[in-house]
């Protein structure tokens, strides 16, 4: 039984490790582990709720928009408010722009996305 470990797992935000167990040419088992702990949930406790979306955006620099957006949505729920229509539309535009990171810059597409399609020799 062979075991492959890929650490660091690159081209992602953060730090990831992959362990794969292979038996008879087939993957038998696999594990992923995040190798960095920051504890955002712990940090957010007891803070001014209006600060939350600023902080949650810093969870990931590749997709900050989604983290900020969901944080705002959970606050809407907590305060039992609904954003006005224009507010909702603005949020969606911002989210759409943030989500379309592939089109954001050719260079980012090349470095973040395209490289995933290139088969690398087994490490």
């Amino acid at each position: 039984m062979a075991r492959i470990t890929i650490d660091p797992f690159t081209r992602i935000e953060g730090h990831l490790r992959i362990d794969v167990e292979i038996e008879g040419g087939k993957v038998k088992d696999a594990w992923t582990s995040g190798t960095l702990f920051r504890g955002f949930e712990i940090i957010l406790k007891g803070r001014d709720p209006r600060d939350a979306w600023h902080l949650t955006q810093r969870i990931c620099g590749v997709c900050p928009t989604s983290h900020g957006h969901t944080s705002s949505m959970s606050m809407d729920d907590a305060f039992k408010v609904r954003p006005p229509d224009n507010g909702r539309i603005i949020r969606n535009i911002v989210e759409g722009r943030g989500g379309l990171v592939c089109l954001d810059s050719l260079k980012q597409f090349l470095s973040d996305k395209l490289l995933r399609l290139i088969p690398l020799p087994a490490s």
Partner: protein
Amino acid sequence: MGDREEISKQFLKAFEFQGIRRRDFLKFCGATAALLGLSESFIPKIAAAIEKASKRPPVVWLNFASDSGCTEALIKATYPNAADLVLDILSVDYNETIMAAAGKQAEEILQNSKKAGGYILIVEGGIPTKKGHGMIAGKEMLDILKEFSGPAAAILAVGSCATFGGVPSAKPNPSQIVGVTEALKKVGVKKAVVNLDLCPINVEYLVAVVVNYLLLGSLPELDSFGRPKMFYGQTIHENCERRANFDAGRFVETFGSKEEALGYCLYKMGCKGPMTYSACPKVMYNDRISWCVKSGGPCIGCAEHGWPDKFAGFYNRLPDVKLPGIQATADKIGAVAGAAAVVGIASHAIATKSSGRGKGEKEGGKK
């Protein structure tokens, strides 16, 4: 502007290949000269320094407890195109977020860089000092920093996390994250660190520091927090495009109001501009299109030591400022222009005092 002979044809061809004309390149050199506080006569020298750099001084970019936002800022840099190129010229040998290799191959590249030495070490992210809270390839991040800071020619800490810990080091700091300077102290490495504080880093700051290093072979003049004085010498408030509104007592009182639409001052909405030192209003972000205050967001003070806890409650306004002998605040004065300007001066003086800077500077003279 500039001397045509200073830049070789071959080098310019390489630029043209990337769709960058000589004029754009010199424009970039001019912008960099302005950032560095150099006269126009330096433009050809900057061009020559960048050309020399095409021998590819290696860069090792280490990601620790970060969100890779600074890496994203780097690879998304659109202005000037040439800035992008300078960083292309610099050979970024190792950067986990953008490199093609992974696992063992990635580790090999890193070890080879270490053997060669003399690289520019760029650190993104804070360093967890609690055991097991930050590991790469089975090694503690603190140990990795120690290992790679030794052979480095220069160390740049980019972004709020790498400088002083940033968001992940906010109370209660679950992983006991510290900035590079403090981490190096812990492991007993004595080396100067350039702190480029901001969340995320403004790539133009980074490029200017790198160019400064290529040009003069030295790091720029730093303030008491290890930040280049050329970028962190003045408060955001001093250069803010909404400053006239502050001086005239025109404030936004609630979001969604007419005052907000008119672009009034965001001080009462919690803007931390008066206490935050950075050249944001001048350099801006995203192609120099906009920055936080221009887009209607109060400054949250991300360029400051101790952020975010120092400014927790981003929408709470900075404490009322009272002048000796005058019992008034920004609220009471309302729109009385002259008096509001006095408050402005006082808040500035207090900001300067409380942040421990402005030593020997006649701050009271700002009107």
